[in-house]
């Protein structure tokens, strides 16, 4: 089940369905070049689920858009995306439209805005079918209804004639998932599919995604910032930070044996239901760096409690740290071997007492002013 990356030991059982090699994306802007993605590589096995995890700005969404060729024209993309023997990055628009929606399909984050508001849901599904299959319209419509049923939309036949605004958020997302599987794709890229939804709906949507994956035996790239979502579904996890992968490996390895402080910090900042009594949370202080003026060295260093001078000098490469396929980009990954707890490395959270004091003073001031005005009016 392990994927093959440079550095990992060869353990492949089947050829990967999608292989990304050294993907780089740059955006020229007025303030300078934004290095959004700085060398992402991974291999996706058929039927596998790869979870790409990272904060906003880590480059995970840009990676997926680059694979699909959906970045704006100003973007400069380099590297290789091998799919069915071709490099997708070199394909013209005409050839790409043959791939999109048919062999690789995509699900976006915000279901409220993903569907065209002026066409019925069934019509949009039908369109997806007719774009790639030469079938009569009625048959395509029937298939749309079938698909809506498959993803758990009640009264699919009637609902197909509804407009998107008549669907709830969760149902809309399920309709989008249905759209993604219409043509039996080999890969489904789900870009933050549950971020915009309530937790209870999240579970339903993820469930749908799982079912779809089984029935279509498609490989899934699940992009999210939510570690909980990934834990349930992914076979492999790729953690991204500042445009680069900083830790890659099988899900269990990442969760139980993280070797990069950032991953450890992420895991530590999650509240857990199975936590013992009064375990404190350990947030990672600070914010991700700007992608325009990246300083040399490890981009996580300013926020890393384990940071040393070597970290600021040289950016660590992604290297094998454990097992056959667990890689991490940290000079001192060895220190995290064994059962290292997050609070041993990161400081725990404290309430900002100073800020609370200031707030109280201001409240008094407001009340005093209000009192003055009352007296003035009297």
């Amino acid at each position: 089940m392990a994927g093959v990356l440079p550095g990992q030991q060869a353990a492949q059982t089947a050829a990967p369905v999608l292989e990304v090699k050294d993907l780089t994306v740059e955006f020229p802007t007025d303030d300078g070049i934004v290095y959004a993605v700085r060398g992402v590589s991974f291999a996706l096995e058929p039927g596998d689920v790869l979870g790409i995890v990272g904060e906003s700005g880590s480059g995970k969404s840009v990676t997926s858009l680059a694979i699909m060729g959906l970045l704006p024209r100003s973007a400069r993309v380099r590297g290789e995306v091998r799919f069915q023997g071709r490099n997708l990055l070199r394909l013209g628009e005409g050839e790409l439209t043959g791939v999109r929606g048919k062999q690789i399909s995509m699900i976006f984050q915000d279901p409220m805005t993903s569907l065209n508001p002026v066409y019925t849901v069934g019509w949009q599904l039908q369109e997806a079918i007719l774009a790639h299959q030469d079938v009569p319209k009625e048959q395509a419509w029937e298939r749309s209804v079938e698909l809506l049923d498959l993803v758990g939309i009640p009264n699919a036949r009637e609902r197909a004639r509804n407009y998107p605004h008549e669907f709830s958020g969760g149902m809309r997302q399920r309709a989008v998932i249905a759209m993604a599987m219409t043509n039996d794709p080999d890969v489904i890229i789900a870009d933050e599919p549950t971020t915009a939804l309530d937790v209870t709906i999240q579970a339903q949507v993820l469930d749908t995604l799982e079912r779809v994956q089984e029935s279509a035996s498609a490989a899934i790239i699940l992009i999210t910032h939510d570690l909980g979502v990934v834990a349930g579904m992914a076979d492999q996890v790729l953690v991204m930070y500042a445009g680069k992968p900083v830790e890659v490996g099988p899900t269990d390895a990442i969760y139980y044996d993280p070797r990069m402080p950032y991953t450890l910090g992420l895991l530590g900042s999650l509240p857990r239901l199975d936590a013992r009594g009064t375990e404190p949370l350990t947030p990672i202080r600070g914010a991700p760096p700007s992608l325009i003026n990246l300083p040399p060295g490890c981009p996580f260093s300013p926020r890393c409690p384990m940071s040393r001078s070597h970290c600021d000098a040289e950016e660590p490469a992604l290297r094998l740290v454990a097992g056959a396929s667990h890689l991490a980009a940290c000079h001192f990954a060895e220190e995290l071997a064994g059962d290292v707890r997050a609070e041993e490395v990161f400081a725990t959270a404290e309430a900002d007492l100073r800020a609370l004091e200031e707030l109280e003073e201001l409240g008094d001031l407001e009340q005093a002013e209000a009192g003055d005005q009352e007296r003035e009016r009297a």
């Binding site: 914010a287 760096p289 300013p302 707030l359």
Partner: protein
């Protein structure tokens, strides 16, 4: 906490990127906050700037807007005081009629012998005076009424909305023509023309400000302010109005442009500023017949109107971008 402390702008997102949240632009608007003291300082530093400074900086980056502002200020100042500085007065009659532009008369003379430059200076002065007064009156009145309506809602809001609806049912030019035409005894006085125009144009700003206040009052910082005991007056003036300043200023400039064109139209039709005084619109009317034979009488006044309106529009556009660079909408 209710306060309007300056917000820092994130580094600018890719120029041609999308504006939608999941598109590249959103991802790369990496927020650069104050890094708390406990973390080592490796980030490049950002100075905090007040909102006014940020707006100014963005405006100055717009070369076209800045150039337009310069030209506009020159024209305004020139028209307001130029008449007094120029050797001829607009009513003077020289003994050179219908002469093309020359050194003595840079804009030529008309068929009676007036120096065109003097008349154009006078006309521009009147037009500019009207436009500025209209903008001032309508903005003040409109902003206050719009603010009150948007904040308090209720009957005040309904009345305001119905009234502005009514005003909008008839073409501006028709209403102002009726109003101006019927002020027969005060005919032609620029002040009353300005009043007439302001009496109609305030509705536009009122609607805009009302809209702003309607959406602003739902924001959390207002709730927070109220929870801390802030009075209505404080909320309106200290919290809501500063946030609406952008919209107010932008629409004030639009009003200036609209006022210039409306006043010129009224004068052209004969119900605005009337002889013996003159306005740019009147000058166009006078010069129209001679457009092919004595083009200087037709082109100069028209071009001046265009220049004023164009520069005002560019400045307004620049201001709109300066106040809200993420906004792509053109009309309120």
């Amino acid at each position: 906490m209710a306060d309007t402390r300056p917000r820092q702008t994130p580094p600018k997102a890719p120029a041609s990127g999308g504006a939608s949240p999941a598109a590249p632009g959103g991802e790369h608007g990496a927020q650069v906050h104050d890094v708390p003291q406990t973390a080592p300082e490796r980030e490049f530093t950002i100075e905090r700037r007040s909102q006014a400074q940020m707006v100014l900086r963005r405006f100055l980056a717009h070369r076209l807007a800045v150039a337009s502002l310069v030209v506009l200020l020159l024209v305004i100042v020139g028209s307001l005081i130029g008449g007094r500085l120029w050797k001829y007065d607009y009513a003077d009659i020289t003994d050179e009629f219908s002469t093309p532009p020359s050194l003595a008369h840079p804009m030529g003379t008309d068929d009676i012998g007036h120096d065109s430059m003097a008349r154009i200076l006078r006309g521009a002065q009147k037009s500019v005076q009207v436009a500025l007064l209209v903008a001032l009156l309508s903005t003040t009145f409109g902003a206050v009424l719009g603010a009150l309506a948007g904040y308090y809602r209720g009957w005040l809001d309904s009345v305001l909305m119905r009234f502005t609806d009514l005003v909008l049912t008839v073409p501006y030019i028709a209403l102002t023509a009726v109003l101006a035409g019927t002020l027969a005894d005060r005919a032609g006085n620029w002040f009353y023309i300005a009043l007439v125009l302001a009496a109609l144009l305030w509705t536009y700003i009122a609607r805009v400000v009302r809209g702003q206040f309607l959406s602003l009052r739902e924001k959390e910082f207002v709730e927070a302010a109220r929870a801390l005991g802030a009075s209505d007056r404080r909320i309106i003036f200290r919290h809501l109005l500063p946030n609406a300043t952008g919209a107010i200023i932008v629409n004030a400039t639009i009003t200036v442009a609209v006022a210039i064109l409306l006043e010129a139209a009224l004068s052209y039709l004969g119900v605005g500023i009337r002889p013996p005084d003159t306005s740019l619109g009147l000058l166009v009317q006078d010069g129209q017949q001679a457009a092919t034979t004595r083009p200087w009488l037709f082109y100069f006044p028209g071009v001046i109107i265009i220049v004023i309106a164009l520069t005002v529009n560019f400045v307004g556009d620049g201001l709109r971008d300066a106040f809200d660079p993420t906004q792509t909408r053109v009309r309120a």
